[in-house]
């Protein structure tokens, strides 16, 4: 297939899982297990102010009170996770003291990101995208800092934000996803070690896309990032997130929390390409991805838009949601979730309408192949205060082969009679007639299937920034290799 020219990252995408390498680097690692000592250790390592310790400990105690009672309502199965057999903190030893400039960053780390196609050296940076590179649990470097500073945009690692902008952090952290929200959010709140922070001041349109690239490297290490994005009145920001991990026989736990806050007339566009290691063909290894992502459209006329392409992870448990609190606020969720072999995905969204004239759109495209199971789970909730709220939902599932499953679980809860709710759903197989038509024009069966699937996902890909869309399309192709015939 002819592809438009893309940034260098997609040249890395070939068959199999090419991101599966491991970088041999000295790490500072906490002993396995979780207790108050570990929480304190993380807090100390990060040099955080007092309020953070207090918050982390409360989160830890709440988590402990849940007595390892993970949420069990999702359509996924996995063996019990031993939370005492995980390292909760790992960081490249060279990052003990945060480097002042890229010259001080360990060349091995720079090389690791280069290998991933995320050049972080000044002269090779991705055009027009500021990158915060997170290796294991630590932010390595943030590019384009000057451009952003000029515009007044704060974009840095979460650790840096906690030290430099403690007021902003204290004001917003946990306001969208409180630590009591769920098991994994509590765990994350207690032990998160880094992540990205972004604040766009009033009236500023962020001049470039922001991106965080997450990389898990160490073995038996949980990765817990915390991302917080605040768009002040009339601000706009487009944020991208990518992630990969080495191939390992054991499972790795990833439990991130992302919080977005949009004030009056502000807009946040959040795009994810999730490509954690999915495990091998027999379902061995792979990342357990338990992620809580939520945005609060707090201000009038604010807008929060989630776009996700989920191709990785052995298990994906993720429901990027929007609380539509401000009048006339808008929430969007565009999702492509692809599972192959023995992957399991239970993903969807929640749109909670509180303000008047709030509108939400949900477009979910699920693709299942191999022995994999894919569930769309969504909630559209119209509160009594939400006069004239509207929702449009479209859920399409595509099946490849006869061993996979697609499930759709939409919840609709309407408590205001002026609401208008539309729900469309379909389940289909890649049609023989479509394949034959494309092949009759000279296109190979694999390319024909890819073209049909791309077409199926088009309305979601259209929401992605250009370079991400091309990469997403390639990811689908790689993930489905060998599934035809």
């Amino acid at each position: 297939m002819a592809n438009p020219p893309v940034i260098s990252r997609s040249s890395k995408i070939e068959s199999e899982y090419k991101w599966g390498f491991y970088t041999d680097i000295a790490v500072d690692i906490a002993p396995k297990g979780l207790n108050e000592e570990i929480v304190r250790l993380i807090w100390e390592k990060k040099g955080e102010p007092e309020f953070m310790l207090d918050w982390r400990l409360r989160a830890y105690r709440y988590w402990k009170s849940l007595n390892e009672d993970e949420p069990r309502w999702a359509n996924i199965t996995y063996p019990k996770i031993d939370y005492q057999d995980i390292h909760y903190y790992a960081a490249p030893a060279s990052m003990r003291k945060r480097p002042e400039s890229l010259d001080e960053v360990d060349p091995e780390l720079v090389a690791a990101f280069n290998k991933l196609g995320i050049p972080i050296e000044e002269q090779k940076q991705l055009a027009g995208v500021a990158v915060d590179a997170v290796f294991d649990s630590v932010s390595v470097v943030t590019t384009y800092k000057e451009t952003l500073e000029k515009a007044g945009v704060i974009f840095c690692s979460m650790s840096e934000a906690i030290q430099k902008y403690p007021d902003l952090v204290e004001q917003y952290l946990g306001t969208v996803v409180p630590y009591t929200d769920n098991f994994f959010a509590a765990l994350n709140s207690a032990v998160f070690s880094d992540g990205s922070f972004c604040y766009v001041p009033p009236g500023v349109r962020c001049p470039i896309d922001l991106m965080t690239y997450f990389r898990i490297n160490s073995a038996d290490t949980g990765q817990f990032e915390r991302t917080l994005i605040i768009a002040d009145k009339g601000a706009y920001v487009s944020y991208l997130e990518g992630c990969t991990a080495p191939m390992r026989k054991s499972h790795q736990l990833h439990a991130a929390v992302v919080e977005l806050v949009a004030l009056d007339d502000a807009e946040i566009k959040y795009s994810t390409l999730q490509n954690w290691y999915p495990g091998d063909k027999e379902g061995r290894g792979g990342v357990y991805n338990f992620v809580t992502k939520r945005g609060k459209a707090l201000g009038r006329n604010s807008k929060i838009s989630w776009t996700q392409v989920e191709t990785g992870s052995a298990i994906t448990w993720k429901y990027p949601s929007v609380i539509l609190q401000g009048d006339n606020s808008v929430g969007e969720f565009y999702s492509v979730a692809l599972v192959n072999n023995y992957q399991q995905a239970d993903t969807g969204t929640k749109m909670i309408h509180i303000g008047k004239n709030t509108r939400s759109t949900i477009v979910s495209k699920g693709i299942s192949a191999g022995h994999a199971n894919n569930t769309y789970r969504g909630l559209v909730k119209i509160m009594p205060s939400a006069q004239h709220a509207r929702n449009f939902t479209r859920c399409d599932s595509l099946l490849i082969g006869d061993q996979c499953g697609a499930h759709t679980v939409p919840y609709i809860e309407v408590r205001n009679p002026t609401a208008k709710i539309e729900h469309e759903a379909s389940t289909s197989k890649v049609s023989e007639d479509q394949l034959f038509y494309l092949m009759q024009r000279g296109i190979s069966e694999e390319d024909a299937q890819h073209m049909i699937i791309n077409g199926f996902c088009k309305s979601v890909f259209n929401e992605l920034p250009f370079e991400f869309a091309a990469e997403a399309s390639q990811l689908l192709k790689v993930s489905l290799e060998g599934t035809v015939g």
């Binding site: 297939m1 034959f436 092949m439 000279g442 296109i443 390319d447 049909i452 088009k458």
Partner: protein, 266 residues
Amino acid sequence: MAEMEGSKVDHREPLLTVRNLHVAAGEVEILKGLDLTVYPGEVHAIMGPNGSGKSTLSNVLAGKPDYEVTDGEVLFQGRDLLAMTPDERAREGLFLAFQYPVELPGVRTRQFLKSALDAIYQHRGRKPLSIREFDKLFKEKMQLVQMSPELMQRSVNEGFSGGEKKRNEMLQLALLDPKLAVMDETDSGLDIDALRIVAECVNRLRGPERAFVLVTHYQRLLNYITPDFVHILVDGRLVMSGGPELALEVESKGYDWVKQAAGVGS
């Protein structure tokens, strides 16, 4: 069936040779020993009543999976056509204009045809066209088939009228430049204007290197395209062959006359 001039033997290689072709769909035998030879540059019309096996012939030549060839052989440029996958056949230069072109949601015609042409060029050892070269060619062919550029903004065939779909088939035919174009009841469901446009396209695309097999129920397409040969398909076999005048005769006398004249039970 080749054009013989006096005693001079034609040394050209046939493009397509169908010998004693038997085809079944499930338990039912549809083609029962069909023979056909097509040389480059020729236009063959195959006429037949409903259920005679017209679409089966088109589909089997293109390699549609739902059929089983139980006997006979098909050679395309001397090679075993039946051993090739549908995409190989297309790259070798066989094109099927579909009776019912499918819709491809989310797939743009331009992108789809660039991929198809790239595959064909690669197969023929040619360098793929640059985006600019392709766009020029694409525009040229759109004009040739009088395709509205507005339609190209949509997904392939999505929301197209019957006539627009058929014209899109002609666009693909013009662009992919096949050696043999099989047209499966291209005239069905077309009003007279659309029919004329399709026929005009075929006439413009005729040439010494390209052959056509026009499969049709009615003679009316042949008012606009003069074939070199007309064959009548009845009950899975070609029972009568002749020149363009045969089509008119069938039109006036009906298929029952053919069956009687050919001694086929009706």
